[in-house]
C-alpha cells in the first residue's frame, strides 16, 4: 500500500539545512583573491624546493678525470656511499673502474665502479670514503601517471662549477616507451619518457617526483636537426627495473637481461608467437607457434613493443608467468628467462672483495647484529620435526636426524656468520613470492649447493634451497612465523614440501647464541 507522498513543508529545517550545506560547499569553486593565490603557489613551491634541496645532497657529479672535464651524474642510494649512474657514463673507465664524484659540499671524492648492467645502461659505484652520506629514497615508477610533475637533477654541459646539481622541471610525457639502440646509444625498453630538460651531462642523474623520490635514472634524449640539445623528449630507466638488478650490481657482477627465446607478431588485433627456439625458455615451457600471447607476469601485452618492454626489463634467470590462449583455452606457463646475447659486452670479472662484502652485509642484516668479526659462534637450537597433513594437523611426530641435520646446516651460517672463502658467492637477484631477493650460494666440498634468498628490501629470509650442480634448487625450505628470540627476530617455523606432497615442518623452540647476555625466551609450541 503506497504511503502518502512526502511533504517537504512538514520538514522545513531539513530543506534549509541542505541549502546551507550546499552554500558551505560552494566556495570550493569560487575564484581566489590574488594574495591567497600567491600563498597557495608559494606553499607548493616551498614544499618542492625543500624536497629538491634534500635530494640534491645525494646527487653526484660523476667525472672520468680529476680535472672534471668529462662526465655525467649519479645518485647515492645508501649512507655507505653506493650510488647509481648510467653504464655509458663509466664505460670508458672500466679497465681501472676508478672515477671521481663531486658532491654538493663542493668536494671531489674518489669513486669505484662495483657492478654494471650494460643491457639496461645502469652501473653501481661506491664513493671511496667513509660515510655517512646523504642518500635518496626510491619511489614507485609503476605508480607514475602521464602529466605528473617530475624533476631531473644532473650536470648538463658540466655547468655545475660547485658540484651542486642542475634542477629542471617537467612532466611524465609517456610510460612504457621503447627506444631503439643505434650506434653508441643503448636500447631503452619500458622506459619513462619525460619533458624535463635533459642534455649531455644529465646521464645517470636521478629523475624524481615532487617529494624527491627517485623514479627513474635519466639516460637518453631525442635529438634532431639542432644537434645534441634538448627538444623536450628524454628517457629514463625506471627505478623498478633498476631494483631488480640491484642485488647483482651490489654483488659486483655484470648483469644480463633476459630473453624468452621467442618472438611475436601482430596479426589483426592479436599477438601471435611466430618463432620459438627449441631449447629456449619458451620452448621448454611448451609455448607453441600460433599461441596467442595475453600477458607476462600478469601484465597485459597487446603489441610487439609491449612484449619487448615486459621481457627486456627483467634479468636473466628471472621467473616469468606467460599467459596464453591456445585453441580457445587460456593457459598459464611458467619458466625462467635465458641470458640475452648482446654484441660488444665487456669482459667484467667481479672482485671477490666486493662480492663477499655484499654477503657480509646481507647476512649481518639478517642476523641483526653488527658484523665486527667473522667466525663461527656456538649456536644451540632446539627444535622438533613434524610431519603435517594439508590442514596443519599433526600426522606423526618423529625425530628425523637426517632432516634435522640438513636443516641445521642451512640455518647455522645465518647465525654464526661464517668465514667466507671462494666457495661462497653472492649470485645476484631473484623473485620469490613477488618479492625481489638477493641470493647467496655456498658450494660444499660434497658438491652440494646451498642457497639463501633474502628479501632485498626488508632483509627477511624468503627461502633456503639445497641442490647440486645439475639441479641447484632441489629442496626448498620456506621460513614462516617470525618470533622474538631474545633480541633476535627469527622464523619459528620452517616448512619443506616433499616430492610426495607431504609437508615437513620444523618448529624452533629455543635459540641460544654464545655471547648473548640473557638466555633466550622459551617459545610455547603451537
Amino acid at each position: 500500500m503506497p504511503t502518502a507522498p512526502a511533504n517537504l513543508s512538514t520538514t522545513p529545517s531539513s530543506a534549509r539545512l541542505a541549502v546551507l550545506l550546499v552554500c558551505i560547499a560552494a566556495p570550493l569553486v569560487c575564484a581566489q583573491d590574488a594574495s591567497s593565490a600567491l600563498e597557495l603557489v608559494r606553499a607548493d613551491e616551498d614544499r618542492r624546493c625543500a624536497a629538491f634541496a634534500t635530494v640534491s645532497l645525494a646527487v653526484v657529479c660523476v667525472f672520468e678525470d680529476q680535472r672534471c672535464t668529462v662526465g655525467g651524474a649519479g645518485v647515492l642510494i645508501d649512507s655507505a656511499g653506493y650510488g647509481l649512474t648510467n653504464f655509458h657514463v663509466v664505460a670508458a673507465i672500466l679497465d681501472s673502474r676508478r672515477a671521481y664524484g663531486g658532491l654538493a659540499d663542493g668536494r671531489l671524492y674518489p669513486l669505484r665502479v662495483i657492478g654494471i648492467d650494460p643491457g639496461g645502461d645502469i652501473a653501481l659505484f661506491k664513493l671511496e670514503h667513509d660515510g655517512p652520506f646523504e642518500h635518496a629514497t626510491f619511489g614507485d615508477a609503476d605508480q607514475l601517471q602521464v602529466g605528473q610533475w617530475l624533476a631531473a637533477l644532473g650536470n648538463p654541459f658540466l655547468l655545475a662549477e660547485d658540484f651542486i646539481p642542475t634542477i629542471t622541471l617537467g612532466v611524465v610525457s609517456g610510460l612504457h616507451r621503447y627506444q631503439y639502440g643505434a650506434g653508441n646509444l643503448l636500447e631503452y625498453a619500458d622506459c619513462v619518457q619525460v619533458s624535463t630538460s635533459i642534455n649531455p651531462g644529465n646521464s645517470g642523474g636521478p629523475i624524481v617526483d615532487l617529494g624527491g623520490r627517485v623514479v627513474a635514472i635519466a639516460g637518453r634524449a631525442s635529438f634532431e636537426e639542432r644537434g645534441r640539445v634538448n627538444v623536450g623528449l628524454a628517457y629514463g630507466v625506471p627505478i623498478n627495473q633498476v631494483r631488480r638488478f640491484l642485488p647483482a650490481l651490489r654483488a659486483g657482477r655484470m648483469c644480463r637481461h633476459g630473453t624468452l627465446g621467442a618472438t611475436v607478431q601482430l596479426v589483426g588485433q592479436e599477438l601471435i608467437f611466430n618463432a620459438v627456439q627449441d631449447l629456449s625458455p619458451a620452448g621448454r615451457a611448451g609455448i607453441e607457434l600460433g599461441d596467442v600471447l595475453l600477458s607476462i607476469n600478469g601484465r597485459p601485452v597487446r603489441t610487439p613493443n609491449e612484449f619487448n618492454n615486459a621481457i627486456a626489463s627483467l634479468p636473466a634467470g628471472w621467473p616469468v608467468a606467460v599467459g596464453l590462449r591456445r585453441g580457445g583455452r587460456d593457459l598459464l606457463v611458467h619458466t625462467r628467462l635465458a641470458p640475452l646475447a648482446l654484441p660488444n659486452l665487456p669482459v667484467y670479472i667481479p672482485t671477490l672483495a666486493d662480492n663477499h662484502a655484499e654477503i657480509r652485509r646481507l647476512l649481518a642484516d639478517f642476523a641483526g647484529r653488527d658484523v665486527g668479526r667473522a667466525g663461527p659462534r656456538v649456536v644451540n637450537i632446539t627444535c622438533e620435526v613434524r610431519h603435517e597433513g594439508e590442514d596443519g594437523e599433526l600426522q606423526s611426530s618423529w625425530p628425523s636426524a637426517a632432516v634435522a641435520q640438513e636443516w641445521h646446516e642451512l640455518v647455522t651460517p645465518l647465525l654464526s656468520l661464517p668465514e667466507l672463502d671462494v666457495t661462497w658467492e653472492a649470485l645476484g637477484g631473484d623473485e620469490v613470492q613477488g618479492c625481489i631477493v638477493s641470493v647467496i650460494e655456498q658450494r660444499r666440498p660434497d658438491s652440494r649447493r646451498l642457497r639463501w634468498k633474502l628479501d632485498f628490501d626488508t632483509g627477511e629470509l624468503r627461502a633456503v634451497t639445497i641442490g647440486d650442480a645439475t639441479e641447484p634448487e632441489l629442496v626448498t625450505w620456506q621460513p614462516e612465523a617470525r618470533r622474538q628470540f631474545g633480541d633476535l627476530r627469527w622464523p619459528a617455523r620452517w616448512v619443506r614440501q616433499t616430492a610426495a606432497g607431504e609437508r615437513l615442518v620444523i618448529h624452533v623452540d629455543e635459540l641460544v647464541i654464545e655471547g648473548m647476555d640473557e638466555p633466550v625466551d622459551q617459545e610455547a609450541k603451537p
Binding site: 602529466g147 623528449l233 597487446r302
Partner: protein, 337 residues
C-alpha cells in the same frame, strides 16, 4: 530519523579523509590528468611516405564522430599510403578532402563512427601564464595503441607569424599562439594544443624558423583559424586593399614620401602639406623616417606597411633623423572621411 542526525552524519563524513588521501602522489602533483585523458582520445597518429627531408609521420586531431581529422600540410598527405592510427590502435586508410595553402592545413577522413572528437571552442580566454598541454607524436615514439606524447607548458603570447620554412617564406602570416614548450619537433605538427580543462585551443604548427628571432618558433594555430578552415572560409592575409589604406593615411597626415620605387629606398619625406597634421607637428622635407610606432622603418615599403598596420590610426609616433639629430614626433591623424 531526526534531521539533526543527518547533519551530524554529513559533518562526520566530511571529516573523514577522501578516497585517494594517503596515496603516494598528492593530487596536486598530477593536475592535468583529466585534460590529458580527453586529449589522448582525440589525437591520431598519421603515417605516410617520407619525402626528402620530411619525415613520413605526423599527428592530427579528430573533429567529428565520423572520422574527420585536421592536420598540417605536408608532402606525405599526397601519397597513397596515408593512414591514421586511432587511439584504440585501429589503422585506417585516410583520404585527403581539403587543403589550405595559406593556413597550411589539411582535412582528412577515415571511415569510422562513434569516435570522440574535439569541439571548436575558442582560444580567446587564454592569458599569458595559462597552462597549455600538447598531445602529439614527435619522433613517432608512440606506436599503435600506445598513448601519444604529452608536454606541458604555458601560453606565452599572441603574435603574428613571420617565418621561413627551409629558406622559403612561410605562407601563413596571421595570428598564432606562442607557447613556451618545444613543439617544433618532427611529427608534432597537427597535434592538439589544449588548455588545462582539455578544451582544444590550437593546432600545433609546422616547424618553422622565425624571421624576427632566427629560431625555431614553438606555436600553434588558434582554434578559430582551424574552425574557419573547416567551414571553408579562405584566409585573408593582413594585406587586402593595403596600398589604398596606406595612401589614404599618408594623405590624411599630409606626407609625401620620396619614393622612386624599389624596396631599399630609405623613407625620406619629399614634401609636407602646409597646415597638415605633419606640418603642425614639425615635420619637414628631407626628414628621414627611421621608426614608426616602435617598429624600425628602413624603406618606403616598410613605412607604408607599418602605417597600414598601425593599430591606432588616430596617433602615429615617428622617429626622424634630421641632419645629425634624432627626434621623436607624435602625429594625431584625422580619421579618413
Amino acid at each position: 530519523m531526526k534531521p539533526g542526525a543527518g547533519l551530524l552524519a554529513l559533518l562526520l563524513a566530511g571529516l573523514l579523509p577522501g578516497p585517494s588521501a594517503g596515496a603516494q602522489t598528492p593530487a596536486t602533483d598530477n593536475p592535468f590528468a583529466a585534460a590529458i585523458d580527453r586529449a589522448g582520445q582525440r589525437v591520431v597518429k598519421l603515417h605516410g611516405a617520407a619525402f626528402g627531408r620530411e619525415p613520413g609521420y605526423g599527428s592530427g586531431v579528430l573533429i567529428s564522430a565520423d572520422g574527420r581529422i585536421v592536420t598540417t600540410l605536408s608532402a606525405m598527405l599526397a601519397g597513397r599510403t596515408l593512414r591514421a592510427v586511432l587511439p584504440d590502435g585501429r589503422v585506417l586508410p585516410a583520404e585527403l578532402l581539403m587543403e589550405d595553402e595559406q593556413r597550411h592545413l589539411a582535412l582528412l577522413k577515415v571511415a569510422a563512427d562513434g569516435l570522440p572528437f574535439f569541439e571548436f571552442d575558442s582560444s580567446a580566454h587564454l592569458t599569458p601564464g595559462d597552462w597549455v598541454i600538447s598531445a602529439a607524436n614527435p619522433f613517432k615514439v608512440a606506436d599503435g595503441p600506445e598513448p601519444v606524447s604529452i608536454n606541458v607548458g604555458t601560453f606565452s603570447a599572441r603574435a603574428h607569424l613571420a617565418a621561413v620554412h627551409r629558406a622559403q617564406d612561410f605562407p601563413y602570416d596571421g595570428p598564432v599562439l606562442l607557447v613556451d614548450m618545444v613543439v617544433s619537433t618532427p611529427g608534432s605538427a597537427g597535434g592538439a594544443l589544449v588548455d588545462a580543462d582539455g578544451r582544444l585551443v590550437g593546432l600545433v604548427g609546422r616547424a618553422v624558423t622565425g624571421r624576427r628571432t632566427g629560431t625555431w618558433i614553438n606555436h600553434a594555430l588558434p582554434v578559430e583559424q582551424v574552425a574557419q578552415f573547416v567551414h571553408g572560409e579562405p584566409y585573408r592575409s593582413a594585406g587586402g586593399d593595403e596600398d589604398a589604406t596606406a595612401t589614404n593615411r599618408l594623405t590624411a597626415l599630409g606626407i609625401r614620401l620620396l619614393d622612386l620605387g624599389g624596396r631599399l629606398r630609405p623613407a625620406y619625406i619629399e614634401r609636407v602639406r602646409p597646415a597638415s597634421p605633419a606640418d603642425i607637428a614639425g615635420l619637414r622635407a628631407n626628414d628621414l623616417v627611421v621608426a614608426m610606432n616602435g617598429a624600425a622603418v628602413s624603406s618606403c615599403e616598410d613605412f607604408r606597411r607599418t602605417l597600414r598596420l598601425a593599430a591606432e590610426p588616430d596617433r602615429v609616433t615617428l622617429v626622424i633623423k634630421r641632419g645629425d639629430e634624432m627626434t621623436v614626433v607624435n602625429l594625431p591623424m584625422e580619421t579618413s572621411p
